[in-house]
């Protein structure tokens, strides 16, 4: 039986799995090339493919539809930019971008603890200012500027913590 197998598959196991040091060096250089390409691609995407964002005011909700203590998700200014509008229990409203400043996970409204919470790494942000309350996020959440026109709530811009437009 074994002889027949050897006849059918005449490749020596040890020879087949042997990787010379030179081959390993070649593989490491290839891996190095892959990593250099990957890092370069991220650099290109981060710096060159950055489209100019235009903040065109957008209607996001009606005041009469809001329930105190609840949140509403919306997108602004582009369809891929997730944001969250929170109707606070004291009657005020606040809106922030939903992308956690740590690794871009979407933050959620935590009504019990009155904060925005990122479930990925337990980051939390103040609903009043967007400041980091706990966890690894390095910056506060950018705030979405709101304008109330009659019964309508309009988003007009995105402001980072230090007042600069996002």
């Amino acid at each position: 039986m074994e002889e027949r197998l050897i006849d059918d598959f005449p490749v020596d196991w040890e020879e087949d799995h042997y990787v010379s040091r030179r081959e390993f060096f070649k593989f490491m250089t290839l891996a190095s090339g892959g990593l250099a390409l990957g890092t370069g691609a991220v650099a290109v995407i981060a710096n060159l493919v950055r489209a100019e964002i235009r903040f065109v005011p957008a209607l996001i909700a009606k005041v009469s539809d809001l329930v105190p203590g609840q949140a509403l998700a919306f997108t602004f200014p582009r369809p891929k930019d997730l944001c969250i509008l929170v109707a606070k229990k004291d009657g005020g409203i606040a809106a922030f971008t939903r992308r956690c400043t740590h690794l871009s996970c979407p933050v959620e409204w935590d009504p019990e603890r009155n904060r925005l919470f990122c479930p990925c790494h337990n980051g939390a942000f103040s609903i009043e200012t967007g400041e980091v309350l706990q966890g690894p996020p390095p910056h506060p959440l950018p705030r979405v500027s709101l304008e109330i026109r009659g019964d309508e709530i309009w988003a007009t811009g995105v402001v980072k913590s230090h007042g600069e437009e996002a």
């Binding site: 040091r21 030179r22 390993f24 060096f25 070649k26 490491m28 250089t29 891996a31 190095s32 090339g33 990593l35 250099a36 990957g38 890092t39 370069g40 991220v42 650099a43 995407i45 981060a46 710096n47 950055r50 992308r99 400043t101 740590h102 690794l103 871009s104 390095p138 910056h139």
Partner: protein, 77 residues
């Protein structure tokens, strides 16, 4: 008494292992750079992307140069 050829072989072998270990360290450094750039990009920070990409390309050049050297060392008698 061992021949000079034997000693040359031992020397080449040691050199090869040293280069291989150095290459490994450089690739790990590149991996760290890649992860750092990706994490910073996701956090909205772009400042380090280009310097890191240049550093990674420089490491690739060093690795390529070492690979060339390894082939040359092996070809010599």
């Amino acid at each position: 008494m061992k021949s000079p050829r034997y000693y040359r072989h031992i020397q080449k072998s040691a050199l090869f292992v040293a280069l291989l270990l150095f290459c490994l360290v450089l690739v790990l450094l590149q991996l760290w750079l890649f992860v750092a750039v990706l994490e910073n990009y996701l956090a909205g920070r772009r400042a380090m992307a280009i310097p890191a990409a240049l550093a990674s390309a420089a490491i690739l050049a060093v690795n390529g140069w070492m690979l060339r050297g390894v082939y040359r060392v092996n070809r010599e008698p």
